[in-house]
Symmetry: C2
Subunit: 439 residues, 2 copies
């Protein structure tokens, strides 16, 4: 057996087969002309031999994503590969596009999965729509709105932030006021489902206001797509992006996006080049469109997986799927209430698929999460940014949104809260959830 | 069964579950304020029902990638998911990093897979190393050098092109002359294995010259890594990127990269922000380093696959793997010679894993490829750019580099050439190949 990175075994050096020893970086070699640098704090664990087969522990994924993946999707993903220009793959791409149009409720031709995760979808939309100096009104009420503003500024745009406290949504009058402040707004960008807070942002009014001011409307639908209505055409969304590992219940790795006619027109009128070659939609549309010009090698297996995940969505039907997400959210919320726990997002704007739960005083947020993982194999998420240590995030997305999982996580939370010294009535949470299902 | 995009079935409209009909874009709605746009030529095929399970045709992948994938890798990829911050996944990340250091022959701490394909790796390296105004000497002798220059310019860099005819390599004296022309060169960038031409670019002299002129050295190792020596530390490569779907024989979707101390120092001395949030190495290193700060959701299943593919590489050993690639290339070249076919890359600089074969006069390039695919299930590649229609590209990468495949493709090519009216002696190619193996 080859030994990788061992410290006390003979290591051949200087030839192609030599074995790498991890070490800290930071000290530059004497010959370097570039000193004075403090290396980022990265360290690697020593690996002393070729590791064995990876055996992932059994987990119930009830965090902010990835969500549970249906066995059919795992099986589809493990099919032998074909080439990215194979006629069979090209036909498959068309099916993926048609299925994505279905879940996005759009007729947009340019609807396809970008070869990266949801954040690559965000970046793809922004770098194609925003040119240096463009004013962009962006809602900032959580991690992902903050991220959007960051990406807008890296693209040379002027981010006009519309802020709301974390857990609350942005109001149309705030969007309108921001649009009035702009000289010539190019884009309004909102996060439909703020995964960091559980807030459910209404979009149609903001889209209408954007258009009234001559701006485009961009929606982050990473967490909402496939779990709550996303009506791209009817709501006037000009561009939207999503991720595969949330309510589509596909492994992470692709970012479905859709661009409508107005967004394409803006693309056609650019006076500067798109700063990203990898995410340049004009080039990408030549591969995903009818020319089939090679751009990059599409992630074949991930597209197999996405196609199967979308087939499952279509078989269930969108309305049934949204109703399922709604019902399981309701049951979870009832159970949490019986445990004395409250949701962090404002009432009336709570997402069905992502529940940010306020951690009660005296309870150790991380310890509860660790207990759920270690004792029950359940993953839930912690808080991000200002909500770090203050909330748990329970995701009921796609395949994770099941009655069995709601009951399982409520029972585990009851145990964990009791272990934290809270007095919780045994079974009350389960009964509360069950009464929602029985209703 | 739901019907997606059908034209002659009742379609509910206006509600969340409505079904999307594909159509041509291009005509803008009357209310649009942005006219005069000619839409890109994209069209979608009509999809009239939920497609059935995807059954990929059996293919032998002997093109420029993706290559054949070992069943162990497909199986590893189909394991149930864990979260991207799960302790089990974090431990796995360390193993992936250690195994990547082994194939890159480096001790660089910052060695990990970027969540995109090889071109995302290219873009990650360039946008992190190049700031606006930076001079970059870049070898341009094929598609990928051309792409590098494009990405450099999109990052605001000044691309100082060192050109060579397609199929030939860039000479050290050309690199030196270009460096002398620069005011203050920041980077020298070369493609190690030019997938479009089959040319094998030597790197050590160019790396030395870069350092003598105070510049960094970046190598595109997309097609070489795992199939030919890539000695990051010994050759003085400061940054390198690769792809998974070539000689690592893993499905496409990740781009292994490595950054050495000098490259990290340059990162630390940047005066401008990295234009890409998704590919910002300072942020990425906080997730792949010891902080484990959430950046984006890593493609879990793709990392499972990469880990298993790298285990196969380590089990075989790099020297044995390189020897295997060399031997199969030699046998293929002998067989091609017996068919009267010549390699397009210059002698002495021919890649073992990618063979660009000159199409003889009177032979229809595309027809031969189509015949191989349709009659034999063999995928080989066509030419790109100025080589379009003039070469075939036969890849013998990773699992594709096997004696059985060499013999199979030679036999099929013999058939196809005969069908094109060429007089080829039956079995001569096989005999020539076999005599290499017998030697």
């Amino acid at each position: 057996m080859l030994v990788v990175g061992a410290r006390d075994v003979p290591v051949r050096s200087g030839d192609a087969g030599r074995l790498a020893r991890p070490r800290r970086v930071g000290k530059l070699s004497a010959g370097s002309t570039r000193g004075g640098f403090v290396a980022p704090r990265v360290k690697c664990a020593p690996v002393t031999a070729i590791p064995g087969e990876f055996a992932p522990p059994a987990r119930l994924l009830l965090g902010p994503g990835p969500s549970e993946v249906h066995p059919r999707v795992l099986r589809a993903m493990s099919a032998p590969l074909v080439g990215h220009l194979d006629p069979a793959f090209i036909a498959m791409m068309e099916e993926v596009k048609a299925l994505l149009r279905f879940v996005f409720a759009t007729e947009n031709t340019l609807t396809f999965p970008v070869s990266g995760t949801g954040s690559a979808g965000m970046e793809a939309c922004i770098v194609n729509l925003v040119e240096p100096g463009d004013e962009v009104v962006v809602g900032v009420n959580g991690v992902f709105g903050t991220r959007m503003a960051d990406v807008i500024e890296r693209a040379g745009g002027v981010a006009v932030r519309v802020e709301a406290p974390w857990g609350r949504v942005v109001r149309p009058e705030q969007v309108e006021a921001a649009l009035r402040k702009c000289r010539r707004p190019k884009l309004v960008a909102l996060v439909h489902a703020e995964t960091s807070t559980g807030a459910w942002q209404p979009l149609p009014d903001a889209a209408r206001l954007a258009h009234e001011h001559g701006a485009l409307f961009l929606a982050d639908c990473v967490t909402s797509l496939g779990g709550a209505p996303v009506e791209v055409d009817r709501w006037g969304i000009d561009a939207a992006y999503s991720g595969t590992q949330k309510c589509l219940s596909c492994p992470p790795g692709l970012a479905p996006i859709t661009f409508g006619p107005r967004a394409l027109a803006a693309l056609g009128k650019r006076t500067t080049r798109v700063q990203s070659w990898y995410l340049d939609l004009t080039l990408l549309s030549q591969y995903w469109g009818e020319e089939r010009v090679y751009h990059h090698t599409a992630p074949i297996s991930m597209n197999y997986a996405l196609r199967e995940a979308l087939r499952l969505v279509a078989e269930e039907g969108l309305e049934a799927r949204f109703a399922r997400h709604g019902k399981n959210h309701e049951a979870l919320a009832a159970g949490l209430g019986a445990l004395g726990l409250a949701l962090a997002a404002e009432e009336g704007h709570r997402l069905p698929m992502l529940n940010a739960v306020t951690v009660p005083d005296g309870v150790d947020e991380a310890r509860v999460r660790t207990r759920l993982l270690a004792e029950h194999g359940i993953e839930i998420g912690g808080g991000l940014g200002p909500m770090k240590g203050k909330v748990w995030r329970i995701g009921l997305m796609g395949e994770s949104s099941r009655r069995a999982h709601v009951l399982t996580v409520l029972a585990a939370l009851e145990d964990a809260l009791r272990a934290e010294g809270r007095r919780v009535p045994p079974g009350a949470a389960l009964a509360a959830a069950q009464s929602v299902y029985a209703a």
